[in-house]
Symmetry: C2
Amino acid sequence: MAGNPIRFGIVGCAEIARKVARAINSAPNSTVSAVASRSLDKALNFAAVNGLPDTVKVYGGYDQILDDPCVDAVYMPLPTSLHQRWAILAAEKKKHILLEKPTALDVEELDKILDACESNGVQFMDGSMWLHHPRTAKMKEIISDTKLFGHVNYIHSTSTTSGTKQFLEENIRVKPDLDALGALGDLAWYCIGALLWAKDYKLPTQVHALPDVTKNSAGVILSCTASLQWGKSSNETFATIHCSFLSHTSMDIAISGACGSLNVYDFIIPYQETSASFEFTSGAKFAELHIGWNTRPEEVEVVNELPQEALMVAEFARLVGAIKTTGSRPDSKWPQISRKTQLVMDAVKKSIDSDCKPVYL
Amino acid sequence: MAGNPIRFGIVGCAEIARKVARAINSAPNSTVSAVASRSLDKALNFAAVNGLPDTVKVYGGYDQILDDPCVDAVYMPLPTSLHQRWAILAAEKKKHILLEKPTALDVEELDKILDACESNGVQFMDGSMWLHHPRTAKMKEIISDTKLFGHVNYIHSTSTTSGTKQFLEENIRVKPDLDALGALGDLAWYCIGALLWAKDYKLPTQVHALPDVTKNSAGVILSCTASLQWGKSSNETFATIHCSFLSHTSMDIAISGACGSLNVYDFIIPYQETSASFEFTSGAKFAELHIGWNTRPEEVEVVNELPQEALMVAEFARLVGAIKTTGSRPDSKWPQISRKTQLVMDAVKKSIDSDCKPVYL
């Protein structure tokens, strides 16, 4: 593969594209071969600022990059409202698609994108980087250990970031015509993804927005909380999520099992690039007379040789490479994960829109 | 004070009484002078096991200890259903009362107890030890700093403990005739207390049980989740709490401010007796390219010279001492805190009993 890297076109020069461009060039099986923005100047500037070599083609428009036969795959960090149009066109042009989250405005839109990928035989994956960090696999191993951790009873996940005045007025994430889902799409995507990940992608049966929804004057969600329930019996799982553009940075998952607990505080973007940790406790009891604990949370550290975004790109490029070299079908795991995440996000949105009535899946 | 310690009678030899007996004897202004159980044998055994000196009087019944003129104050760790009867009688016998939580089965009962304390001029305090730890004051200082922390937007608190089979079958905390509030009374008491503490004891306007309530066959709550809302505007605070006898030990408070966050994982019983810590982060931003954070949570450690339960006893004994020596009125702060906690707990209960309908306060 090293001699035949997957050639990426970057469709849209959003801030996040800088991080992913670097990841594409640091993954062992991929390379940036073209960049497109709505204007040529923006694309040229992106190439210059990010030190991309002169061999990288620069386009002032998205159509041209999709017509470039030297582009195998696209990374697409466009505003959500543009995903359907450009992702479908990319699929039709036989470009494999790494699409930023949220993948679409709703699951109907996403289904059109996924159908286009399916019928054109191209790989789809969304840009949830954290799923590719080896820490995530290690956490999964622990919460799946029924003896050590027990049944997962309760999960709480948050994703918050304190938007500046400028962000709250101008950023695409608060504009109804660009990222109409606001904090739900940008932040709760991760929390919902974390719950589904913890539940082995079993869908909740009931989703319930809580009454603290905050919207801006244009009706875009700035902050919300929701509960998710799997089944009705006490043997199932309950979860709460909270996302906000109005609160200090947090990205937590707290998983509460029958005999263990796991906490991670930087699950979306680890504190540092080269290693990440989480806290795990099992069998905690109180000391004699209840004057302390018999144990403290253990910090489990996981070293990663490549940053999680490069691991994501490498996994995507591996799947694309397999399709290119063996003619195999695209892998269905990643599009299914995206679709379930979008489906649950839709349910939260629907509950918000119906005055917090429960939505059954 | 050292020469004239407040003389405690322990009314009920529950397991927790061992911890508090030790605290009473280690606080500088109090001493255990009598112990009562339903049977003399139990009381004698308690005195022996806990190394109480022969000067401590031992009673096989609660009436006698309340008639002992050498008892200034009682510590009462009886099952909740017995609180009303014995706490009122204690107040009538002019005994100051340190009452275990939950203080009563509902606020009507508690009001009768508080009225009895008021009309008999005796001090009331509930057994929430954590409020007396110096860490709690330090946390309060930080979350009150509007520049460092900003407005408190969201709070999440949990209190869980994994009951053994025996606990779930036999413990008084799951018996409808003894502690009918189950996990709500035993565990959520702390979470509700934490929210009220963080909100300077301003009551929420809306309380909402979430649909994951689990009860045992006798109808006692084993696990539940609730949301609490202060006001309707985005300038107010939203909170979620979760309590359970079915999940591994946790006792967390996560407070999310506009520009800071605070996390504590052992707020009810600190990991160790002599110091306790919490995590605090302010102004967290992502590093260039969003490949890490500019800061990590700071661990703030607070050393305590006495265990929190001894600090609780010392504060209670100080108030009792002031009443005894100066004839002052009982302090109203602590009964008010108990009453608000009970009031919110009642609201959660009411919401659970009405199929999760919101309860307005």
